[in-house]
Subunit: 321 residues, 2 copies
Amino acid sequence: MKDELNRQSLVANLKVVCLAGGVGGAKLADGLAHIVPPENLTIIVNTGDDFEHLGLTICPDLDTVMYTLAGVANTETGWGRAGESWRAVDEAARLGGPDWFRLGDLDLATHLVRTQMLRDGESLTAVTRHLTHHFNIQPALLPMSDQPAPTMIETDDGTLPFQTWFVKERWQPPVKQVVLPDDARATPAVMKALENADLVIIAPSNPFVSIEPILNVYPIRAMLMDLPQAVVAVTPIIGGQAVKGPAAKMMQERGLSVTAGAVAAYYGDLIDGFVYDQQDEGALDGLDAAGLCVDTWMRDQSDRIRLAQDALAFAAELGSR
Amino acid sequence: MKDELNRQSLVANLKVVCLAGGVGGAKLADGLAHIVPPENLTIIVNTGDDFEHLGLTICPDLDTVMYTLAGVANTETGWGRAGESWRAVDEAARLGGPDWFRLGDLDLATHLVRTQMLRDGESLTAVTRHLTHHFNIQPALLPMSDQPAPTMIETDDGTLPFQTWFVKERWQPPVKQVVLPDDARATPAVMKALENADLVIIAPSNPFVSIEPILNVYPIRAMLMDLPQAVVAVTPIIGGQAVKGPAAKMMQERGLSVTAGAVAAYYGDLIDGFVYDQQDEGALDGLDAAGLCVDTWMRDQSDRIRLAQDALAFAAELGSR
């Protein structure tokens, strides 16, 4: 109990930045949001898989994090909203529209308001602030960039926009290369958050298509490398498997072993500590990073909070580099 | 009976063009669609009240005509679809989006598919052909122009986009002037239909904000003036009142008497015949146009068909100029 209080007081005043993709990132961000005072928490979200669909600007990772923090996410599918209906997209499909990306009626509201605001000249950062305000979300949710920074997936059948590969092709075509834009620039809000960060948590998102697109945005990787404070990543691989999505398959295709250690090695110098699962004891043997071996599987909200606490305390203890 | 057969055979092979705005135009177009072979019927629709809303391209008159011909229109409201739900726009309003223009979930499907196709580079004519095909509508439904040709309403409080005045302000601000674009151009499909027309029916739509925007599109007015065949208008004013909408109010504001005769006089040389209601006997006294005095109120579908038959037979009998 005393230990717990000490750990909480240790992190209460720290400014925390979390880099997040979709589902795994959203869950850890939710855990963090329950223990970090909102003014001290910034979540920087991948926008590499944003795209235009049915004339609307869709930001899948931003929305997954937003819906999760708001408590309105569909926890069964891992995307979209709970209690959803499908009147508009079912009718659009009947009218010859595309049906491979499902936009529920409630979910559509987000895209409609976002698209109108973007067309009115607002930045994605401002739009996201507006939406999170109306979802009663208090921590800062920031797109990594205000300009489109599309992630492309090179396959044997050509180079596909991310969502075409991920959703339409159900991430089955082997990935020859993840192609990231060379002109993506971070927003002022992102840079300010990183400048002021006391610690950075890299969420258990896909390293190649969720986290790497964020690191690729100039100057985020350089700022993280130069940061005097600890950067800690949480493993997306547990017991040789990805909790969700294509991370394990992509590691195999890259010739990597599908292990937590391989993820830690992939992040390399960027991170100071790595949180991995108790199933994977010894995962960091031979690696330079400090390790924390705990239960990293987030089945419910108490798991999210516990993992967030563990990762925060670990990063706080690592302290300055 | 023999008379009826003669009248039907008289019009069976005639190529009919109908100029239409919203509700009144949709009803007469529906009547025409029941008696004119589909390959002989073209409906040219006002797009002056088209606008962008929630990032989507909305074409209110095209959609009212389309939904009416498809039998899916909401006949109570005069706009939108029957059996509609409002999940997306209600949620968009909760998220701080505009709530003055109601887009139902089924209706949204039309705007989503249209907006995607327009962004993909298709013309509004092609998009409308696609949508009407999927609604199993056989006559040709043509936007008057493929370029935006916005109708603006000059009021004491400034010049408003049409839908702002019509829906948001419930057409209450007095109209100082209807401002139409001076660079609107007809589509090739519209010009071909007018070239081949054996008769033209001007639907009982608002003369100033539904029909005039069509006539204003170059070279539609000139083509109608030069057409050797009959042009017949159907009155939107019955017994000194507009069946629906601001026509009567606008006539008062212009200092016109609110009568069928004043509408006929407004169209002037453009028309060869005018169909007016039996309530308004003697409406054309002192005017040059040929008149047909019948029951013009369209309460149900049999009324629509009867009025369409009357107008067609009248125009066919007027024949060439």
